[in-house]
Subunit: 329 residues, 2 copies
């Protein structure tokens, strides 16, 4: 480490990310923290691993950029680590249980992304119901003058929308859909006193009573493939699935089959099980809207998550309560 | 006319439409009215004109399917006509002034389409801001695994949305956008006591103070090209235009130029000046969403407009007040 670094009194923070996922506000972080980023700070010829082991002993705080995993193997390298600051709403890439066992706190993006993700869920639902993307393709292909009228679409108002996961995102989705005249119900681990909508403890029961399911719960061992064959059958052939949570919340292989057989009405996906891979069968379907995991990709969301990350780091280094700690379920 | 028709006591209604625009509920109309449709009722060898002149003298009520024009030349053929029942919200295809001069009442679709059109305006706005259709194309083209991350889009919440035309559709748009956290203002002929939003008497002033314009006013001589060069300049290079009214409300040629030069941020069109022709320059633009005039194309809207048409016809034939009379401006 250079002499300059030795006299640097900014707290040390390790940036943990995949090479292709950079945070847009790195310079602003640098003004408060000494940021170690193996992908941009290493000296020529050094491997990221070598760089890491050179600095690992003193690192107390780590920022992790989804989907870069934080598990026992990484934690073993960082004996002083006391906080993992996440930059996403979902923390399925972080082994929270293992962190907690080692006395390491974990934070997430809090509500920073909730409004943008909720907006995107509504956008996907409107697109599937009203065939906006399909109509756009129809016009751009030059088909309108030749083929004339386009097939009917379906009204949003009056639809029974089941929200799977009534957290911060789910409640923003519900607020928006109420303005369109939808009838909202929900499933979550527990009934929420703050949510004035019918509660279903079982997702299949919710699906039977819904025209649309919006999936926005956290991905955990318990919610993996929460949208399975039984739920799809319960939702029925006119039913629509919107997924803005994580790909693995839906049994994608089953859903593709249901769509191919016409046993489900349509779907909007912002997330997939094996991103960026998307099942090719979906490409030919007009009742499906595909999006490259971008529900949070606005400058406004990035600014909001920067504030949350800064607040968590500042709280940590001044021994105050963290802004958005993740509790173990 | 057959002997059967002579003994038919159902009131006579003339259907006025282009061959390619049929109403979906014709059979249900038939159960209450004797519907004369030159495109389906004529006997072999007869021209629509000959058919019309054979029945014209007794026709008191006419249903017109947009965009089939109702003007002096048609009215001249129908000396007994007393009501023109429109099936659309906009009546720019009907010469309302000429009808009124002849003592002929005109009705429109009332509020039947307002919710669906408002939903569609929000869908187009979300699509332009969040690049849903563009993202869909990106995924379907197989670009995601190759090109990786997609450009940032823009958050709906906080946007200043100027609504041009605060009628039934405009107020439904405002209600929806409020749930997304937008700041709504509006322009219309007159300030509306029922609209709790800032009012601008001048569209340019509204544009200067807006990030987005949603155009949903009636097309009249006064509103033709209401979105012109000056308004586009006032809206500015990040501004977005959504048009769910009529194509000719926007100076399309100018707008295409502004888009091509990057002097406006993006646009969503459900309507065009020369439908179904769409300016080819738009096909290559990613910041534009094109839709084949389908904001009302849901079974729910069709059912609602059927109810309005039936109510107007029944009121007319029983000398009661019409449900949705169009007043001359």
């Amino acid at each position: 480490m250079s002499e300059e670094a030795d006299h640097d009194h900014r707290p040390l923070v390790l940036m943990h990310r995949l090479p292709s996922f950079a945070l847009p506000f790195r310079d602003r972080l640098h003004s408060h923290f000494r940021v170690l980023d193996p992908h941009s700070s290493i000296t020529a010829g050094e491997t990221p691993q070598a760089f890491l082991s050179r600095h690992a002993a003193s690192v107390q705080a780590l920022i992790t950029v989804c989907p870069s995993p934080v598990a026992a193997d990484l934690l073993d390298l960082l004996p002083s680590l006391r906080v993992v600051v996440g930059s996403s709403a979902g923390v399925d890439h972080i082994d929270v249980a293992e962190c907690h066992r080692r006395g390491i706190a974990v934070t997430n993006a809090g509500n920073a992304f909730s409004e943008d993700v909720a907006d995107y869920a509504v956008a996907l639902l409107l697109d599937v119901l009203r065939r906006v993307s399909a109509g756009n393709r129809f016009v751009r292909s030059g088909s309108w003058p030749q083929k004339g009228e386009y097939p009917l679409c379906s009204k949003l108002g009056g639809k029974r929308v089941g929200i799977v996961g009534m957290g911060s995102i789910g409640s923003e989705v519900a607020k928006r859909l109420a303005a369109f005249g939808c009838r909202v119900a929900y499933n979550s681990r527990n009934k929420k006193p703050s949510a004035p909508y019918p509660y279903y403890a079982n997702v299949c029961d919710l699906a039977v009573n819904s025209d649309v399911l919006v999936v926005c719960c956290a991905l955990t061992d318990k919610t993996h493939h929460i949208i399975n064959k039984d739920v799809l059958t319960a939702l029925g052939r006119d039913g629509i699935i919107i997924n803005v949570g994580r790909g693995a919340l839906v049994d994608e292989k089953e859903l593709v089959q249901y769509l191919a057989r016409g046993e489900i009405g349509g779907a909007g996906f912002d997330v997939f099980e094996k991103e960026p891979e998307v099942p090719k069968e979906l490409f030919a379907m007009d009742n499906v809207v595909l999006s490259p995991h971008r529900a949070v990709l606005t400058p406004e969301s990035f600014e909001a998550v920067f504030e949350v990350i800064m607040a968590n780091l500042k709280a940590f280094f001044s021994n105050k309560p963290l802004l958005s700690p993740v509790k173990l379920e």
